[in-house]
């Protein structure tokens, strides 16, 4: 083994019932490097990580770790921690009901002579640790009192303090805003200097180029290659992940609309939801795509939820097609021709154990009411139409939706809304966590919908894709609608508006 190498995995193979999740995959990790693990959904990144951390039991292959004779096989996360591998996941895996200090030390608390936990000394050590890493918290407070970003950093601090050689960060930035991401990167760079090897899994290409030294790319459970960061420019990385060149990303043509003569789709005045979004005005015209940009927590999702009635409006009024309406819950909005594709696909989108067919017809059925059941024939017809239209990859229309990949699940939910034939569709992060190919398909679909005279409110954390599709951009900051931008815009214009100040 190379002197500098901390961890090598060779020929890792693992099958789930019916699927080869990993086929002969390699990973080499050097001391003090940040190593990106890239791949589309279903490429096998998570599976590989779970093999390293002992959650998955792989069938073939070997893992070697510096300083340990022979192959290592972990059977639990505890095993993995013992050999120096720690993981921080996207969802913070800490206990919200315990204090920060306790979260840092649980399972390895310092003990007094009487075999009792030494609460004083670990509080002190926790304080030192947080100071050292530059995280500002009161360690005696319960974790649930802090923001997600702080919780994430506490999780990293815990991992670091356990003298890990290898720190795996599995999509740690998905729910962080830009400032928080920057803080996290500072922490990552500091750890790197201390000689920790970091495996970084993310969907954000910019972040890869911001902190990583080396990239390993997986595709469909196979190993594509390992590259130093300078030798793999963005386009090549995407090509390696996709297995094909992607020129059609640019080939979207949006239609300009004349707002002076267009009909109004919705018109909000002083609409708000206490605690999440301050009163705002918003007009959306027929056939228009309006992008909503803002950092996470800026109220961009909440704005959509208030319009749709997912959160009930505290103040203000809403007009749909020039008529005053009162929306108390989603079904009211649906009856007015709205649809909402929520940002959290798993929690608020799919009904995992129902079939693709049932998932597609659900909203339409809800709109028709419980006592007007769609006949089996109609159900099949609708389901097949959208499976075909959106090219949903599924074994059959009666496959359970949870068995589909993330991108295809997203398409199913999209199909659910298209089936209701909405006039006004809200898409909250429709492209998050899905592969580049599907992303461009969805963008094309948005433009197509607009051409058909429907209105779309498009929320995304990727400004480029909104610029590509939207006629107008609404800027959100701190729960407030701060600006509306029209005309030819660049990414910098929008970012400037989001950041505030003079742009």
């Amino acid at each position: 083994m190379d002197e500098n190498v901390v961890l090598t995995a060779r020929g890792i193979t693992m099958t789930f019932p019916g699927v080869k999740a990993l086929d002969n995959v390699d990973l080499t990790l050097r001391k003090g490097e940040v190593h990106a693990l890239m791949g589309e959904n279903g490429a096998g990144k998570s599976t590989l990580i779970k093999c390293l951390t002992g959650i998955n039991d792989f069938e073939a292959g070997e893992i070697h770790i510096e300083g340990i004779e022979g192959p290592v096989k972990n059977h639990s996360t505890a095993d993995a921690q013992n050999v120096g591998i720690s993981t921080v996941y996207q969802e913070v895996n800490l206990c919200p009901n315990l204090s920060v200090a306790e979260n840092l030390f649980i399972g390895r608390e310092p003990m007094t002579a009487l075999h009792m936990i030494d609460r004083k000394s670990y509080t002190k050590r926790a304080r030192e640790l947080m100071n050292e890493l530059g995280i500002e918290v009161d360690v005696t407070q319960n974790l649930e009192n802090y923001s997600l970003a702080v919780q994430q950093m506490v999780a990293i601090a815990r991992a670091v303090d356990m003298e890990c050689k290898v720190l795996i960060l599995d999509e740690p930035t998905s729910s962080l805003d830009e400032g928080e991401v920057e803080k996290l990167f500072t922490l990552i760079r500091k750890l790197k200097e201390d000689g920790v090897s970091i495996v970084f899994v993310t969907h954000f290409l910019e972040q890869v180029y911001a902190v990583c030294d080396r990239i390993t790319v997986l595709r469909n459970g196979t190993f594509v290659g390992e590259y130093p960061i300078d030798e793999l420019p963005r386009v090549k990385l995407v090509a390696a992940m996709m297995g094909k060149d992607l020129d059609d990303l640019a080939a979207i043509e949006k239609e300009e609309i004349d707002t002076a003569h267009a009909d109004m789709a919705i018109s909000a005045r002083e609409l708000s939801h206490t605690g999440t979004v301050k009163p705002f005005d918003l007009d959306v015209y027929k056939g228009e795509v309006v992008g909503v940009a803002g950092l996470l927590g800026s109220g961009r999702s909440e704005l959509a939820r208030v319009i749709y009635g997912a959160d009930r409006a505290s103040t203000g009024n809403l007009k749909v097609k020039d008529a005053d309406v009162n929306i108390r819950q989603p079904i009211d909005a649906m009856n007015l021709g709205m649809g909402l594709l929520p940002d959290d696909r798993k929690a608020e989108g799919i009904i995992g154990e129902l079939s693709v067919r049932e998932n597609i017809i659900l909203a339409l059925q809800a709109k028709k009411g419980a006592f007007k059941l769609l006949s089996p024939k109609e159900q099949i017809e609708i389901a097949d139409r959208y499976i075909d239209l959106l090219q949903i990859k599924t074994a059959s229309r009666d496959t359970l939706v949870k068995q589909l990949s993330g991108g295809n699940q997203q398409k199913v939910i999209l199909a659910r809304w298209l089936a209701t034939d909405p006039d006004f569709l809200i898409l909250d992060e429709p492209t998050r966590g899905i592969d580049v190919g599907t992303k461009s398909e969805i963008q094309k679909l948005i433009v197509k919908l607009a051409k058909e005279g429907k209105s779309v409110l498009f929320i995304s954390s990727e400004i480029m894709e909104m610029l590509r599709t939207s006629n107008r951009m609404v800027i959100m900051r701190d729960g407030q609608k701060v600006n509306e931008l029209t005309g030819e815009l660049t990414q910098e214009d929008v970012m400037g508006a989001i950041a505030g100040g003079e742009s």
Binding site: S76, T77, A78, Q81, T87, Y89, V92, N93, L94, C95, P96, N97, L98, E102, N103, I106, G107, E109, H115, M116, I117, R119, V137, D138, Q141, N142, E144, N145, Y146, S147, V150, R158, G275, T276
Partner: protein, 342 residues
Amino acid sequence: MKNSGRKINSNTVLLIITIVLFVVLYAGGCIAYGSKGFTHLQTFLNILITNAGLICIACGMTVVMLTGGIDISVGSLVAMDCMMIAVGLQAGIGMVPMIIIVLGVGLLFGAVQGYCVGYLEIQPFIVTMAGMFFGRGMTAVISTDQLSITQDINAAFYNLANLKIALPFGGYTNNKGVYQVPFIRVGVVVALVVLVVIFIMLRYTKFGRSLYAVGGSEQSAQMMGLNVKWAKMRAYMLSSFLCSIGGICYCLNTMAGSVQQALGLEMDAIASSVIGGTLLTGGVGNVIGSFFGVLINGTISSIVKSNGKLASSWPNILTAILLFVFIVIQSLFALYRSRKNK
């Protein structure tokens, strides 16, 4: 925004509500039934004596509830314990071996339940419900008679049950002019020892803290390298073990074994824990609260008994109402918190 001063800890609020409620109830009892001796220290001690078993059981229940589980087998386990003691002593087994047997059976009972919950991942409610029916049925299998333990059967046990431990304070002279020395019984001592031990265990041992972690987030606890399954299994073992200790205390009070004994005791134990601020979702609570929960329960029974005219089902109904109120308060806190976090 992130750390705006001191947060009002809703859990502390719950505990304070509980203590205030107890004081108010007890004061109410004193005012209404002072003439029937409610104001004497002995009335309070009697509540402790009657509920010594329940204190042990509630401690066990709290431990299980901290992990987010529940144990509704306790009532029938107590019945089984009493029946075993009654039958065993009658068969001539000595007191100490019998106590060891009962405790051993409790541990085994808990181990089976704990294995089902921890390792087989079956819902605690289903497992312990089966345990509850098993215990009740097993009691009938051991004997369907109404047995009572008299001095002839086992003198040692009889004497232990009747042992009065006098307290050096708080006595009074009754209307016949005799000075009444306040006393407690062995069960109370056992219960208080259990209370202290469990309190320390929950606060200062790895096992205790791992229970909180499991209750807070099972997945996280697992990810942090804790052995969740083992922790859960031990929680149920501890619960059934404490329940068996409670069963012995209970038996010392009733000196009898019967299939119908301790019906609905699980309700009292759960109600005590909940009223004492243990969250049903797990992760929050401690045995001090549960202790006050038991006292509230006992006070209600005492008041109903002092009244003398109320139907026997009233304590049940009142406990249920209290349980209802506290569950609603808990859920409102939880709803408020989740709304705030959004």
